[in-house]
Amino acid sequence: EADIYQTPRYLVIGTGKKITLECSQTMGHDKMYWYQQDPGMELHLIHYSYGVNSTEKGDLSSESTVSRIRTEHFPLTLESARPSHTSQYLCASSYGGLREQFFGPGTRLTVL
């Protein structure tokens, strides 16, 4: 079982609210990622980080932002949630080059 945690697991929130999805890993991995996954659809990379103070946008445009102040922590923030943000968000981490990514259990977000 991978040591990567996401909270909350489920979140239902109203339009316009600011939310932060938490992701932490205890494996000392340098690289971390956020993916968005809709039901029955493929995962899309929205953010990744090579290490502390490094963040990059992925191939899917997202209104969310991320930060990487500590190696183990990679939170994702939505300043103003909208119904179009309803989805599942998966956090992952890896070490080094072409190594496997370890995934958290995901946060299922519903914006009303």
Binding site: A2, I4, Q6, K31, Y33, G40, M41, E42, L43, H44, L45, Y48, Y50, E56, G58, D59, L90, A92, S94, G96, G97, L98, R99, E100, Q101, F102, F103, G104, P105, G106
Partner: protein, 114 residues
């Protein structure tokens, strides 16, 4: 455009029978290929990868995959399916050697009946 395709939304097999989950890819340069499995309400779990070398790659839980460059395929296989193998399977390709950009297929639901 670089892409990964999983042509079957669902694969149904009986327990004890061999299973194959198909994946084809289209990339420029060397393909770095991965298989992941997702159980209900869980994150993805790594099964196996092909980077270079032997075309037959062995992975977790008795799964293996065959890399075929001429057919641009990376099919996942298992000689004898278990009911517990029922899950959602994703093929993915890394676009760079840093492994930071993974493109995932849409996933194939495997259903193994007893």
């Amino acid at each position: 455009a670089q892409s990964v395709a999983q042509p079957e939304d669902q694969v149904n097999v009986a327990e004890g029978n061999p299973l194959t989950v198909k994946c084809t890819y289209s990339v420029s340069g060397n393909p770095y290929l991965f298989w992941y499995v997702q159980y209900p309400n869980r994150g993805l779990q790594f099964l196996l990868k092909y980077i270079t070398g032997d075309n037959l790659v062995k992975g977790s839980y008795g799964f293996e995959a065959e890399f075929n460059k001429s057919q641009t395929s990376f099919h996942l296989k298992k000689p004898s399916a278990l009911v517990s193998d029922s899950a959602l399977y994703f093929c993915a390709v890394a676009l760079n050697q840093a492994g930071t950009a993974l493109i995932f297929g849409k996933g194939t639901t495997l259903s193994v009946s007893s």
